[in-house]
Symmetry: none
DNA sequence: CATGAATGAGGCTTCATTCAT
DNA sequence: GATGAATGAAGCCTCATTCAT
């Protein structure tokens, strides 16, 4: 019925991610993206009529995936460590979130919708972390004299800690230990 | 009647900072800057012949100031807490550093120079933090089973923790406590 | 469930007309047209390989219809009034004619052909009006001291007079009276 | 203080008018305009940041001029004929008004403002014509059995009558006569 | 120095049109 | 025939930068 497709969602999202990571939002154009994909610029417009629509669709997809994994994480034995592992694997998600303020969130209704959903999911993620920590408090392992948002904040901030380690798992162990026990002996 | 016609360095840096904070690197143009300053766009070129030159000059200035304050900090009684306080007060510096990758660092020799200096200063800052922690290790307060970059990394990551507190000092105390003693009871 | 998949000439012309009337030539695209018709854009190309071909075909069809009606009109008792009535009913034809200059009339041989035919028919229409007026002059009702093109021109210009009337027939009567007897008492 | 100007308002408006008359709204681009003016496309943007802004500014200017002339006209001896003369001299204004529907009237606040003003002036023009006709009615020359909007409409429609005459004044005389006395002997 | 004027490069989008199935 | 896919040409617009005064 029609010609063969040359770009698929997966590849499109993959190159979108790569381009943003390499060039930042400033350097993210359909021109550059088209070159990477080896298609004409206008072709992309047949899929996403607006730069912002593609970018938010991609982000939404990313965060949805992360949230799904977290759901499983919570049921694991060491939930905090598992959350940490996921959170760090999705470190680029964190980077993406930082570019949100520079996106025209009212570009099209679709963009607005995607944005809303993303923020909702992001709040959900924080909620999941809170829940794990709260459970720890109930069970007496986690201290209660620090405000919850500060606890969550520190946990989430760890994404910024560079990975000097041979294995990601080493990083996870070290940071987990540090979070739980602090700097002091 | 007419707005101020001459450019004042201080105001120039101030507006540069504001503009970047409000609009990000994407929204940082000489056009917008000139409007804020109430001068013609071309006037700015008499001071900084290149957008990148202005931006790196401003950042360099910012980081120099922070480093200077840190020098004093180290001599204080609670050096870690003082460092934390400074680091957080210069939180925007952190934001600025994140835009560095998107700046054409070879635009002009001056830009290259500024960039080099900035990175040097940034390394110096990390060194200062390391030193404080190292001293703590020598004195037996800080644990030695965690790699130094991880310690420094966590300390620096704290800028990301949102400030829900009435007073910045509360935030500092809470985060300091958390860093030292960890999540557990 | 799905919208009609085959194109029907009548509907095609109908939507063409509607779209031009609503959006003007500027807003007349195959994209918009295809949406209205509920078919793929490319489908239209199976019928009209060129935008201009469709548009001129439609116009030709419209003007042919009008000319046919005028033929009958001339045989009526009040030929001028009847012509006026037809002319006004085909007011959109007038609008269409105004977009002709902006169409690439040499796009394809077919377009050229349609255009030629249209202009011929249009001249024929003017001829018919002239004939009616000329007959009036012969019979002594219509004055002869005004150049014929001016008479015809005024008659055709009436299409621009807005219809504030409840019934179109009222408009016709009023304008007819005005044309014949003028502004004065 | 600055470089010499290469385009002035007058020339800009003149070329705008010519281009619209020749190419219609479809063919009116800054690209074409810039070529005519012999400047870079972007230069025009320094004056009018939006295509619609230029076009509406030009139209407003045109209609303002016409209204001003009409004011004088009304005091003349043969006001209706004078109005007719002016109206026809500004025939292109009429053409401009017809493209209004295809302009994005909400493009910018300035565009909206211009549009509002234009419509107001246009209503004013119609009012002036009405006033002249009304005065004629009071003085017993103009018939009162035809609705005023129809009278005004016919008068305004005359712009559409082609000028086959050697002198514009001949056209004016002929049309004026025709309007007043009608087609009949 | 300050400025208004001009410009080119580059990014954003839309649409007519072609083509393989 | 009908369609989805791809594309190029063309128009829109913004901004860094240069230049003459």
């Amino acid at each position: 019925m029609s010609r063969q497709k040359t770009i698929d969602q997966t590849q499109l999202f993959y190159e979108t991610e790569q381009l943003i990571l390499e060039a930042g939002y400033t350097g993210f154009h359909f021109k550059a993206l088209a070159e990477r994909l080896g298609v004409a610029r206008s072709t992309i417009y047949n899929y996403y009529p607006r730069k912002e629509e593609l970018i938010t669709a991609y982000m939404l997809h990313l965060i949805e995936e992360a949230v799904r994994k977290m759901d499983d994480a919570i049921k694991s034995e060491e939930p905090l460590k598992t959350l940490l592992r996921i959170w760090v694997k999705y470190a680029n998600m964190h980077q993406m979130l930082q570019i949100m303020p520079y996106i025209d969130q009212k570009a099209t209704p679709k963009v607005e919708e995607n944005t809303q959903k993303m923020y909702a999911l992001f709040r959900e993620m924080k909620k999941k972390i809170s829940d794990v920590l709260y459970k720890g408090q109930q069970e007496g392992q986690i201290r209660t004299d620090i405000q919850m948002p500060t606890l969550v904040g520190l946990m989430m901030a760890t994404v910024q800690i560079p990975v000097h380690h041979t294995e990601l798992e080493e990083w996870v162990n070290e940071v987990h230990d540090l979070l739980l026990n602090g700097f002091t002996n």
